[in-house]
């Protein structure tokens, strides 16, 4: 059986990690190995951790409105670390027009408050599956 490893990270300075922790637990309960970075991580720290832990996907959470700058910054850090193939998903308080912008920038899924956990888990599963196919 294949085990998916994912990194859940909070870039930026906001300390509201209720959502991030819920998703981490929900993913664990769905059989993922979840590495949680804690709050206040820089894009470079997140990319370095994703590489070291050899995760199949990265999930970002931001509630302060800094997503427009920080999510793409994580993508850039991953590219720089030679890990552009690791898919990045994001969630938080994100207005509709930003969702399109983030997706254009390369974030593969964006979740807003109220998205059912099952939908988020499925998105992670799909992303991990693709990544595993790519790497093997």
């Amino acid at each position: 059986m294949e085990v998916y490893r994912v990194l859940i990270a909070k870039p930026g300075l906001d300390g509201h990690d209720r959502g991030a922790k819920f998703i981490a637990r929900a993913l664990r309960d769905a059989g993922f190995e979840v590495i949680y970075t804690g709050i206040r991580r820089t894009p470079n720290e997140i990319a370095a951790s994703a590489v070291q832990e050899d995760v199949a996907a990265v999930g970002l959470s931001s509630m302060s409105g800094a997503h427009a700058r920080l999510f793409p910054a994580v993508l850039a850090s991953l590219r720089q670390a030679g890990a552009a193939d690791i898919p990045v998903l994001g969630g938080g308080i994100i207005p509709a027009e930003d969702i399109t912008l983030l997706q254009e920038a390369g974030i593969c899924s964006v979740f807003t408050p109220g998205t059912p956990a099952q939908a988020i888990i499925k998105a992670f599963k799909d992303a991990c599956q693709q990544q595993h196919q790519h790497r093997n």
Binding site: Y36, R41, S49, V51, Q52, E53, H134, R135
Partner: protein, 303 residues
């Protein structure tokens, strides 16, 4: 990163490339077919030179903080260090939450601090095998010291910790685990006992209570890891213990012992995979399981 040939991967991990180190660990942990050829290609001299330290103790004793302090001191001496943080998997879902990195994020950007979180994946001895392999991959990538951290003081945690060259047990006042530790006879198998949070009330009593079970008075150290008090001493002790073990040829003996154990663990892991397939392929003949097992075993390893 698309798939690489094992030889290429090994070459890159010998250069310390973070992605290759991480991929190699996954490939071995996931029992990929290329696992054996990766392990075979590792630089033996680096494996010989590295020191591995197992750190275990009950939740809340401050292991991650202590590990963080050790990393700090090692990095001050420009020593490249690897950390394997083991957490349990859920027996029901096989998922796991691995949160020990939080305490080590000070070093997240330091390429010479290689951190790997590892879940037990509910395997019998399997995590020992995976952790042992990860230790060697880290060593081959140039880590001079590798710390393996496990939570708890049960048998499996001790098994993982004792894979390492030196085993450290961390306790703190106020958790009531000292009795459990003494009952389990753990003090007899650990090299060093660290009383962390030594500034808290109850530390002296804990020290006194444990004193009876110790082999020698210098087997115990007091630290206050959050203040980095006593942690530099701990590192000095670890390194001098290593020197002594090497001089007395004991390190070799210990490693031989661990390798044997890991071989058994790996065998069980790999056998289980094939065995399961084999048993499921056979028609159920209604034969008693105990008898069937004996027959199977005799086919593989004639007794």
């Amino acid at each position: 990163m698309s798939s690489l040939q094992p030889a290429q991967l090994v070459e890159q991990l010998h250069r310390g490339d973070p992605r290759s180190v991480a991929r190699a660990i996954s490939l071995v942990e996931d029992q990929s077919d290329v696992g054996a050829s990766i392990m075979q290609g590792l630089d033996q001299q680096r494996l010989d030179e590295a020191l591995t330290v197992g750190i275990t103790g009950p939740p809340g004793a401050g292991k991650s903080t202590l590990t963080g302090a050790l990393i700090h001191h090692l990095r001050q001496q420009k020593i490249r260090v690897g950390i394997i943080a083991v957490d349990p998997s859920s027996p029901l879902t096989h998922g796991a939450l691995l949160g020990d990195r939080i305490r080590m994020m000070d070093h997240a950007l330091d390429q010479d601090v290689v951190v790997r979180s590892m879940a037990t994946r509910g395997r019998l001895g399997g995590v020992c095998a995976a952790a042992g392999a990860a230790m060697r991959i880290m060593a081959a990538s140039g880590c001079r010291v590798i710390l393996v951290e496990t939570v708890g003081i049960g048998q499996s945690e001790m098994d993982i910790a004792s894979l390492a060259d030196i085993t450290v047990l961390v306790l703190a006042p106020g958790f009531g685990d000292e009795i459990q530790a003494m009952k389990a006879g753990i003090l007899e198998v650990v090299d060093l006992l660290v009383i962390n949070k030594a500034d808290m009330p109850g530390a002296q009593k804990l020290l006194f209570d444990l004193g009876k079970g110790l082999r020698a008075s210098d087997q115990v150290l007091q630290t206050c890891a959050s203040e980095k008090q006593g942690t530099a001493d701990l590192l000095t002790r670890l390194l001098s213990l290593e020197k002594m073990l090497r001089q007395e040829q004991k390190l070799q003996q210990r490693r031989l012992c661990s390798l044997r154990q890991e071989t058994v663990d790996w065998s069980l892991e790999l056998f289980k995979k094939r065995l399961t397939a084999l048993v499921h392929a056979q028609h159920c003949t209604g034969i008693d399981p105990r008898v069937a097992a004996e027959q199977l075993l005799n086919r593989v390893i004639p007794g």
